[in-house]
């Protein structure tokens, strides 16, 4: 069980933090099982499941047939009898085969049987961009799942939240969709030792500021932080709210920040129309109109599938420079040296030099 005593921290990558959460969950509760395509293969789902089968055995950690829909139903069925399954998918897109079981089954079971039995399953999905992942290996469809009552949708940014929120997800009595951005897997951060759980609900203030509120999630928070570093040098301070989960959304914290800054920029890693960012703009407009000193804005992906070609993705993604430019526009300031200071990294299609493909 989690405890409240202070825990020493270490620097861990996001993927190691996930691995640690899985280890702790399986150690804590022998009803936790973990399966997915390649869960026990030499790559171990981007390193996140390495060593689990050796430690907890093939009954509790196993590879599975390429049957995303049925295997989601299997998780539901097992959970109805006390098991806590964690399913691991190497791409969000693969999981689209499982919509019946997720939407008609997992999300509804507790409600449609009047609270008699909940479905405590965790579904890990990897979103991303770049490296030619293209139209069907890079989709950021978190808004779909946030739209469905009965699901919780978690999207951590920091390694500490990756660990703490995965633990919370596994021990939550509801179905939780846990979304990891591929570009975060090698990010390093302080992670507490032990069973430290981050609650699902409250957002994280990634940086405090007073001039503009940036609401963000997952990898977009990293771009927002780069933009904020640049803007700080020009005397503009950003309040960066890292949502951490997109269902539920921590509306009071968002409203309170906008009441302080009077300005909102909502970021989203998914396509613009019907996005979480759109929902943030709508609710802020409805609830904080009198506080706003500029029209709320959003930056999301264009409403087109992501192309594969290196040549076509240059300038395609929302980057720190886009965030900074948008904020300068909202404040009525000159762009100045923003494009020199926040150049698109080269190559543009990887999160850093650590990433050399193939997936």
């Amino acid at each position: 069980m989690p405890d409240s005593t202070p825990h020493p921290t270490r620097q861990l990558t996001f993927s190691t933090a996930i691995n640690e959460a899985l280890n702790i969950a399986m150690q804590t509760d022998d009803k936790v099982i973990c399966y997915g395509l390649g869960t026990d293969d030499p790559k171990g789902n981007f390193g996140t499941t390495l060593g689990l089968q050796e430690k907890f055995g093939p009954q509790r950690v196993f590879d599975m047939p390429l049957s995303e829909n049925a295997m989601t139903g299997v998780a539901i069925g097992a959970s109805l009898n006390g098991i806590r399954p964690v399913m691991c998918h190497q791409r969000f897109d693969f999981f689209l085969l499982a919509m019946d079981q997720l939407v008609n089954g997992a999300a509804k079971w507790f409600y449609m049987f009047d609270g008699q039995r909940s479905v405590p399953i965790t579904i890990r999905l990897v979103i991303g961009r770049g490296w030619g992942q293209g139209p069907t290996h890079s989709q950021n469809l978190q808004a779909w799942f946030a739209h469905i009552p009965g699901l919780k949708v978690v999207m951590p940014t920091s390694p500490a939240d990756a660990k703490g929120m995965l633990l919370s997800s596994i021990f939550d009595p509801n179905p939780v969709v846990f979304i990891e951005h591929r570009w975060l897997h090698n990010m390093v951060g302080d992670v507490p030792e032990g069973d430290v759980r981050t609650p699902i609900g409250p957002l994280r203030i990634a940086r405090s500021g007073s001039d503009v509120t940036i609401v963000s999630m997952s990898y977009m928070t990293v771009e927002a932080l780069h933009a904020a570093d640049y803007l700080q040098k020009r005397g503009i301070s950003c309040d960066i709210l890292d949502l951490r989960c997109v269902n539920p959304i921590d509306w009071p914290a968002i409203f309170s920040s906008v009441q302080k800054t009077g300005k909102l920029l909502a970021l989203d890693s998914g396509a613009e129309t019907g996005s979480i960012a759109g929902e943030v703009v709508a609710r802020v407009a409805m609830n904080c109109m009198s506080s706003l000193t500029a029209a709320p804005a959003r930056l999301a992906m264009p409403d087109v599938p992501e192309p594969t070609s290196f040549g076509m993705t240059k300038g395609f993604y929302v980057r720190a420079s886009d965030v900074a430019v948008k904020i300068l526009d909202m404040l009525g300031l000159e762009h100045g040296d923003v494009h020199e200071q926040l150049i698109e990294p080269t190559p543009h299609d990887v999160p850093g030099s650590w990433f050399t493909g193939p997936f």
């Binding site: 069925g77 097992a78 609270g115």
Partner: protein, 321 residues
């Protein structure tokens, strides 16, 4: 087959028949405001499965689930109250006829999407294997569900893991109004398809309740002995319309003659005549049973009708645990 079991099978079928037919009689009152998929004519499988399974075994089903629920021992007043949308319904009025549940007898749920509970039943089987119990998970579905991808996926996984799962397919030849011949290739048997996936399978006359019981009991015994999943296909026939209380042979998707031929094969009369002929039962016993079912049914309907509706505020309860 002991005389006691033979008689119990008859009684269970007659009870299911009577309650289903009473639903069809009362449905036109417009008080059961949800779709109903009646199993009249298909009672043998429900009655036999309920008797062959233990109360500690689990079952799941699909949209035509009344018989499976009642066969497993599900609470009948709560089932009817569910159809009337009442607070006392087995799902608190949230599910209706297609969402039945009575965990106290191991009926873990029926849902409305064809094929939807097949993997759920396999997952229940996985939970038995993980916890090392000798329980069996029984999955009821029809010939239409065999056409879903999730059927193949679920059977495949159950076979890979040798899970304690009993797949029970009631082949009533129709999916809504679409006959089997436009949905599955001629000459391909469903139970042979199951065998090819790697699940031991057999096929039997779903109107012969003693045969159905024997086949189910044998399959369940094999599963408990560790033989892995078993698949049984039973031929049966839906008397009434796909959804609703009426007969629909006049609308043209099947002929009156086909219906009459199949109805003549029906399981209840067959079993009753057999037992009377063998002097294993008396007409007095049958009459007494019919009377007790009539009293039980009337009381169950009264309970459902007199129960209160849920509060409007209940809409917002139980979205999250």
């Amino acid at each position: 087959m002991t005389p006691d079991i033979a008689k119990e099978l008859l009684f269970r079928m007659k009870r299911i028949r009577h309650i289903e037919e009473e639903i069809s009689v009362r449905y036109s009152e417009q008080a059961m405001r949800c779709p109903v998929h009646l199993c009249t004519g298909q009672e043998a499988v429900s009655a036999a499965a309920g008797l062959a399974l233990k109360i500690t075994d689990f079952a799941v089903s699909g949209h035509r689930a009344h018989g499976h629920y009642m066969g497993k021992g599900g609470d009948v007043p709560a089932m009817l109250a569910e159809m009337y949308g009442k607070r006392t319904g087995c799902a608190g009025g949230r599910g209706g006829s297609m969402h039945l549940i009575d965990e106290s007898v191991g009926f873990m749920g029926s849902t409305a999407i064809v094929g939807n509970t097949i993997p759920v039943g396999v997952g229940l089987g996985l939970s038995f294997k993980l916890s090392g119990t000798d329980q069996v998970s029984c999955i009821f579905f029809g010939d239409g569900a065999v056409e879903t991808g999730v059927f193949y996926e679920s059977m495949n996984f159950a076979a890979v893991k040798k899970l304690p799962v009993l797949f029970v397919c009631e082949n009533n030849l129709y999916s809504v109004y679409s006959p089997l011949r436009v949905r599955q290739p001629e000459g391909r048997k469903i139970f042979e398809l199951a065998k090819a996936i790697g699940v031991e399978s057999a096929h039997g006359d779903g109107n012969d309740v003693e045969l159905v019981y024997t086949m189910l009991a044998d399959a369940i015994a094999r599963i408990r002995a560790g033989a892995g999943p078993q698949f049984l296909e039973f031929d049966t026939y839906r008397w009434r319309e796909h959804c609703g209380p009426n007969f629909d042979n006049d609308i043209g998707y099947r002929t009156e003659q086909e219906y009459l031929e199949n109805r003549a094969l029906e399981p209840i009369k067959k079993q009753q005549d057999k037992l009377l002929q063998a002097k294993l039962i008396t007409t007095a016993e049958i009459t007494a049973h019919e009377e007790s079912v009539r009293i039980e049914t009337d009381a169950a309907f009264r309970f459902a009708i007199e129960s209160p509706f849920p509060d409007k505020a209940d809409v917002y309860r139980n979205i999250y645990a």
